[in-house]
Each structure stands twice: as C-alpha cells, then as structure tokens.
C-alpha cells in the first residue's frame, strides 16, 4: 500500500504502529467475518471453506507483517524477540502437556484450541516485557 503525504511526515516508529494497527484490524475483521459466515451458513460447504480461507488470510497477513517487522529491527531487538519466542514456546508446550495430563487424569474436561492460542500469544507478549526488563 503506497504511503500518503501525511504518513510520510510521521516518525517511522509511529508509521509502523499505524501499519501494525491496520494489520491487526484487518485480521480482526476477517476473523469476525469468518465467524459470522460459519454461524449463519453452517450447511453451505463452499461458504464454510471460504470463511476458513478468509480467516487464515487475515492471520497470515498479520504473521508475515510481524515477522518482517522483527527482521527489520536491529540485532539487539531481534535477540529480545528470540528470547521472548523461546520462553513463549516453552510456556505453551508446558501448558499443552499439563492440559493433556489433567484431561487424561479426569481433572479437566476440554481445552479449546483457541485457549491454547491465547495462552501462546499472552505468554509471548509477557515474555517480551520480561526480556526487555532483563536487558534494561
């Protein structure tokens, strides 16, 4: 998407924040639209397929944007993200393992995939804060 004259005047970090918000909004809209389609057209196979594709496209856009944003950072910031992703991976793996064991033992009925995803995202964000505090 080409930059407007107003955007060119902004600080690069502010410009990137706006882009990040735009991409997150796009992801949100595609996800909400997909959920609505699945809710209102549960019998139509091609529509359900399109809804899934739409949601994946929105998420993939955010994923690619985030990966590019991290890659464009300096090596120190990339290190912080590497540490944060490592912590988030370990936390998510632990959460999965504990959930599985609790389910097998009968202490837990069901853990939705979206809950696991949210735990992963939350642990990633918290890990970034922890890593930044450690290196501060």
């Amino acid at each position: 998407m080409p930059l407007t004259d107003e955007e060119k005047k902004l600080d690069p970090s502010v410009r990137r924040l706006f882009r990040e918000l735009g991409v997150v909004a796009f992801w949100g809209v595609t996800y909400a639209s997909a959920i609505q389609i699945l809710k209102h057209h549960p019998q139509t196979v091609w529509l359900r397929g399109a809804a899934v594709a739409l949601a994946i496209a929105g998420f993939a856009t955010w994923l690619v944007f985030t990966a590019r944003a991290i890659r464009s950072e300096n090596e120190f910031t990339r290190r912080i993200h590497l540490v944060a992703l490592s912590i988030a991976f370990a936390v998510t793996a632990l959460f999965l393992f504990v959930s599985d064991m609790l389910q097998r033992a009968g202490f837990l009925d069901y853990v939705s995939l979206m809950t696991i995803f949210m735990v992963m995202l939350a642990s990633w964000w918290i890990s970034i804060v922890i890593a930044m505090r450690y290196y501060r």
């Binding site: 120190f76 450690y134 290196y135």
Partner: protein, 66 residues
C-alpha cells in the same frame, strides 16, 4: 566477554543514547553490552569499533570462562 565500552564512551563524553544512535541500536542495547548481559554480534561490534575508531579486539576481549 568483557569490553571497554563504558570507558571509551566516557572518554568521548557520549551518553549511552548517543552511542546507540551512532551505531543504530537503542540505549538499552548499549547498557546491556556495558553490563555484560548482551554480547553484540560481529556487525554491531564492528560498528561500535568504527564509532570509536578502534579495532574490535581493542574494545572486546574474551575472558577465560568464554
């Protein structure tokens, strides 16, 4: 890895933020290098050496534990 960053920076009378700006990293990055929490990669180490007009191994030295 030990380094003479703090001493060299003081000689130049540069703040951490100023050095960070010269080599393209944040003040936090310079602080992390100075306190030994973070060892820079080769590109950053070379940029720092260039900023001080010194050789990389005049600024960064391996320790016995490295």
């Amino acid at each position: 890895m030990k380094n003479r960053l703090r001493v060299l920076r003081a000689e130049q009378n540069w703040s951490q933020a100023e050095l960070g700006m010269r080599v393209g990293v944040s003040r936090q990055a310079i602080n992390a290098i100075e306190t030994g929490k973070y060892d820079p990669g080769l590109p950053l180490a070379m940029k720092i050496a260039r900023a001080f007009q010194q050789r990389v191994d005049d600024i960064f030295q391996l320790e016995e534990t490295d």
